[in-house]
Symmetry: D2
């Protein structure tokens, strides 16, 4: 059972020349980096970034990524990437993403990522690490 929350960050992404392909639009694979930019900003803002998690002895590799493309971004465009925390019971971190242009409600792309916890031996954690449960309580997400 997954439930979208009110917890999100937004980052602005400026389309770089090197990101545009021969069709004059952003190559679809770069959206995965845009998602990562927003996910990292979320981690920084709410104290749940890669380095925070690494200090607790865990890594959180991506196990699933998906993206739906509704419209295209061109060279020179600015995009607003929103990364929203999605509640779930299993020992996973799920984020939902939307990409829009500034001041627009039209969705250019939307997607999601799922991450799991590995301990410092690389063993998959079936239960959420304690620090993560505490973080969820602190954020009113539990």
């Amino acid at each position: 059972m997954e439930e979208i929350t009110e917890l999100f960050v937004e980052v602005n992404v400026e389309v770089k020349f090197s990101e545009v392909d021969a069709l004059q639009i952003v190559w679809h694979g770069h959206y995965i980096r845009y998602f990562e930019d927003a996910r990292e900003a979320f981690g920084k803002q709410y104290g749940i970034g890669y380095l925070d998690i690494y200090e607790h002895g865990f890594t959180i590799p991506i196990v699933q990524v998906s993206c739906n493309y509704k419209a295209a971004l061109k060279y020179g465009d600015t995009a607003v990437v929103r990364c929203t925390y999605v509640k779930t019971l299993p020992a996973k971190i799920i984020f939902a993403f939307t990409i829009k242009k500034p001041g627009s409600d039209t969705i250019i792309a939307e997607g999601s990522t799922v991450q799991v916890f590995l301990d410092d031996k690389g063993i998959l954690q079936l239960y959420s690490p304690e620090f993560y449960d505490k973080w969820k309580i602190k954020m009113n997400l539990a």
Copy 2:
């Protein structure tokens, strides 16, 4: 209704130093390029590549991509990326992908892409272009 077919290509991908991240594994976003490598090889082998399609006056942007990661690739690994044609009725091109190590049946990652047809004015095609229907007949996919 989608139906996996017997039509596929396989390409070998060698993990490059620049593709490995701080966790010593291939950064998840690079799998999207691996998929593209295999998809392009499919297009070349079966006469349905970007340039073939462009000659008919169409482009085929990606509208959906997804990937599930089951295991990791490390620097120096070789991976076999299989791109399999998936039959579908709508005016779309769907491919399924698996990534394995040579001689292994263990799936490292699997995913899919969906592409649509735009004409030379950028208009979405609700019906498959004629050249594509002909291609499907020629390939016994219709």
Copy 3:
């Protein structure tokens, strides 16, 4: 004869997880993109961006790039990339780049790029296009 000028822009670059390699430092090839980020910001700020130039019927491909690496950037670091205009007589656009950490004088990397003018038929221009001469006069660079 090349002469460094006082005309520059600075952009902040945050090191992304996907940019760090197995040595835990930014992969050297990404600095080329950092240079491009700063060069594009320069173009935007001073009205000499790709799109401005394209409107005048020219493209400005890179014909030379070089980078010297003095120190490393790590995940989470912020870098200040400075792009400085370099005066030269031939029909070229030359920029010099330095990368430092905010508030530091230590050079992490420095480099340069050289661009030439092609007209809309792809012909190399031996003399600077008129619009570029005018731009240089306007910027007191002539």
Copy 4:
């Protein structure tokens, strides 16, 4: 004093769709990866790859890269990247690169990379590590 040698490898690179920019040519930054592909192939073939060196307790970060672009590569092109060992007295590894099309003598791009030795504490080595001197003798490069 640097001296080009007869020791080289060549790799074939196929231009990918994602590598082509809005000008329909390979984005200049990707040539740095092409160089790396050839450099890694050299390391593999002659037993001087990253992993070989790492086993001896050293890393070999890039401290200098340069590239001159003479012509362009387009989507669908195949390029032959040659990585040639360059003899030098200091504790450095220098490679020269050329990129040509198969069966052509026209140089599309040429460049070089310089690497230094760091020990496992990250200290720059002023003298070549012993294993490297032995390797040079074995390869008749000393």
